[in-house]
């Protein structure tokens, strides 16, 4: 789900940086207020663990393929949402800086898509309500607790990954980078991440139940006393309502886009039938964005910020002239690049020779 720089317009990237940055600042403030200095090494080691844990392949039974994990839910269940969020930032930053997994400019968006939903939405909307809810109360304290951990992990991972995937689509569409219509893009991303979320949820559940068996005090929201497990009837209702609203929102936006772009939906449903498709697509490129409210808004923003890429072909009045000089110019740039390389080699060789000689 790591987004690359090229998929984002600067304005969108900046917005995401501001959102993620603000959340990070609030988290730092909250953690500093708690004055728990011991948490720092724990956070560092936990994020290093997630980083390393992502390298492990988990065989998925029956398919022969393997899954990986992302870690947002795991971290927030262990460290709490704020600390989990900061830890995830570090994981993503190191992946970005040292492994080019997700671009430097897209880091803000990646943090939002993976860390924010995984930690905050996952913790406050799913983890905590489920852990406090009376579901599985009939199974006995310990078994019920374990069942709640499993349920919360799986639901949490699936939902937060869906949110993340949806937000990837949204950000890319708002950036106006891809020609892939919103609906089609959604129907490409969401089902894939449903499967990924399920696997991730299972892994998270497995790890957390193991930790619960051995060191329950490490997990957030686990009732060690087993006493007040039945006090939170309201919160399950809250979570269901929240989920319903989220689903309605996502569904609403999704269907709005889909109905605005019947082609996109068609594409999603029947696959890429090129023949009928290109007839529609090639001619009215403009139609895609304009018909929906969101892209209209995006267009408005775009007009204001001239920094955003414009849709029109640059210098479209004299396409042929620009093409020729463009091509020649390109060749010259390439030659220049080559010259720089050769000069560098020559220079290095010379210094190496002279140092050898001396």
């Amino acid at each position: 789900m790591h987004m690359a720089d090229a998929l984002l317009a600067p304005a969108v990237a900046a917005t995401m940086y501001v959102s993620s940055g603000t959340t990070a600042c609030i988290s730092v403030k909250k953690l500093t207020e708690d004055e728990n200095t011991q948490k720092l090494p724990t956070m560092a080691v936990a994020s290093a663990l997630v980083f390393a844990g992502q390298m492990i392949n988990y065989t998925i039974p029956g398919t022969g393929s393997s899954g990986h994990m992302c870690g947002g839910m795991l971290l927030s269940a262990l460290l709490g949402p704020q600390a989990g969020f900061l830890s995830m930032i570090c994981v993503l930053a190191i992946q970005c800086l040292f492994f080019a997994d997700g671009g430097l400019m897209a880091l803000g968006a990646n943090i939002w898509n993976m860390a924010f939903y995984g930690c905050f939405a996952g913790y406050y909307l799913i983890w905590r309500p489920i852990m406090r809810s009376p579901v599985f109360g009939g199974m006995g304290a310990k078994k019920g607790q374990r069942a709640r951990i499993i349920l919360a992990s799986i639901i949490g991972c699936i939902i937060t990954l869906q949110m993340g995937a949806f937000s990837v689509v949204l950000e890319t569409t708002l950036s106006g980078i891809t020609e892939l219509p919103f609906g089609a893009f959604c129907s490409l991303m969401l089902p894939i991440h449903l499967a990924i979320g399920l696997v991730e949820g299972l892994i998270t559940a497995a790890v957390l139940t193991f930790v619960y068996e051995t060191r329950p005090e490490l997990i957030r929201g686990v009732d060690l006393s087993d006493e007040k497990a039945y006090s939170g009837k309201k919160s399950l209702a809250t979570v269901i309502i929240c989920l319903a609203i989220a689903a309605a929102l996502v569904g609403g936006i999704f269907s709005h886009f889909a109905s605005g772009n019947p082609d996109g939906l068609e594409w999603a449903l029947f696959g890429n039938e090129e023949a009928g498709y290109s007839a529609n697509m090639g001619l009215d490129e403009e139609n895609f964005g304009v018909s929906s409210g969101v892209s209209e808004a995006a267009g408005a923003i775009q007009e204001k910020l001239s920094f955003l890429p414009d849709y029109a072909f640059a210098d479209s009045e004299s396409p042929m002239g620009t093409t020729v000089s463009g091509l020649v110019g390109s060749a010259m740039v390439a030659a220049l690049a080559l010259a720089i390389c050769t000069a560098g080699h020559f220079f290095r060789k010379k210094t190496a020779d002279s140092s050898l000689a001396s």
């Binding site: 200095t37 011991q38 090494p41 560092a44 060191r215 005090e217």
Partner: protein, 257 residues
């Protein structure tokens, strides 16, 4: 310099790790703390550093079991009792070399790691860097300065860990298994380094040959009690005493018999 007065300690009630341990270590002494696994060696170290027991107040290191600690007796470092309020003062005097150097050195490079403690104690940047260079030079390890902690070899790592502690110029040096997992060559280097240091030293190890080489005095712990305390030659050559406490003679003596 260091005094344990009748120290009894348990991480969990009813399972004492140390019972009525008393000893005194004078300035400049090098003492080997030996004993089987679980005899209480690490606990002695932790109590002394205030990482567990009466010294471990709020905001101290050790983890979950902390609240259940019970203990009695007094531990004194140069006349100051190990209590939460005295910790900064006491820890300034003590240098602890952990068994796992990776846990000790948390900064990316050796240089940063050595600077960490110095800057924390308010030394200026220039002064601190001079001190770092000085220590590395003394140890003959200048080459380590800008290397990454995760890239250096096991031997270098141990050397660097010793350097980070020495940089702080401690009066007492505590070393937990300084030669574990080292090859003979690096082990020799560490032994030579320990021998050359003038500080008071407490070394725990199962490497009795190393203890014999470095320590003048040995304290043998067994099930939380002091089984023997005396000159290294006496204890390390006493086959019966060692075997009664789940230890063996150092190899060099074993071959003579």
């Amino acid at each position: 310099m260091i005094r344990f007065e009748d120290v009894t300690f348990a991480y969990e009630k009813g399972k004492p790790v140390l019972s009525a341990v008393s000893f005194e270590i004078g300035k400049g002494e090098t003492v080997g703390l030996i004993g089987a696994n679980g005899a209480g060696k690490s606990t002695v170290m932790k109590l002394l550093l205030g990482l567990a027991g009466p010294g471990a107040g709020a905001g101290s290191g050790s983890g979950a079991g902390n609240t259940k600690n019970t203990g009695s007796g007094r531990i004194l470092v140069e006349g100051i009792e190990v209590l939460p309020k005295n910790l900064p003062q006491i820890r300034r005097k003590l240098g602890f070399v952990l068994q796992n150097s990776d846990n000790q050195m948390f900064m990316p490079t050796v240089f940063e790691d050595m600077m960490f403690g110095l800057l924390n104690y308010g030394m200026s940047r220039m002064e601190a860097e001079r001190r770092v260079d000085e220590v590395l030079q003394d140890l003959g390890q200048e080459k380590l300065k800008y290397l990454y902690n995760h890239k250096i070899s096991g031997g270098e790592k141990r050397m660097a860990a010793v350097a980070t502690v020495l940089a702080m110029d401690p009066e007492v040096l505590l070393m937990d298994e300084p030669t574990s997992a080292l090859d003979p060559y690096n082990r020799r280097i560490i032994i030579r380094t320990i021998g050359a240091l003038k500080q008071t030293k407490i070394i725990t190890s199962h490497d009795l040959d190393m203890i014999y080489d470095t320590c003048g005095r040995v304290i043998l712990l067994s099930d939380g009690k002091i089984a023997a305390d005396g000159p290294a030659e006496d204890i390390l050559m006493d086959k019966k005493l060692l075997e009664a406490n789940r230890m063996e003679l150092p190899l060099r003596f074993a071959t003579c018999v």
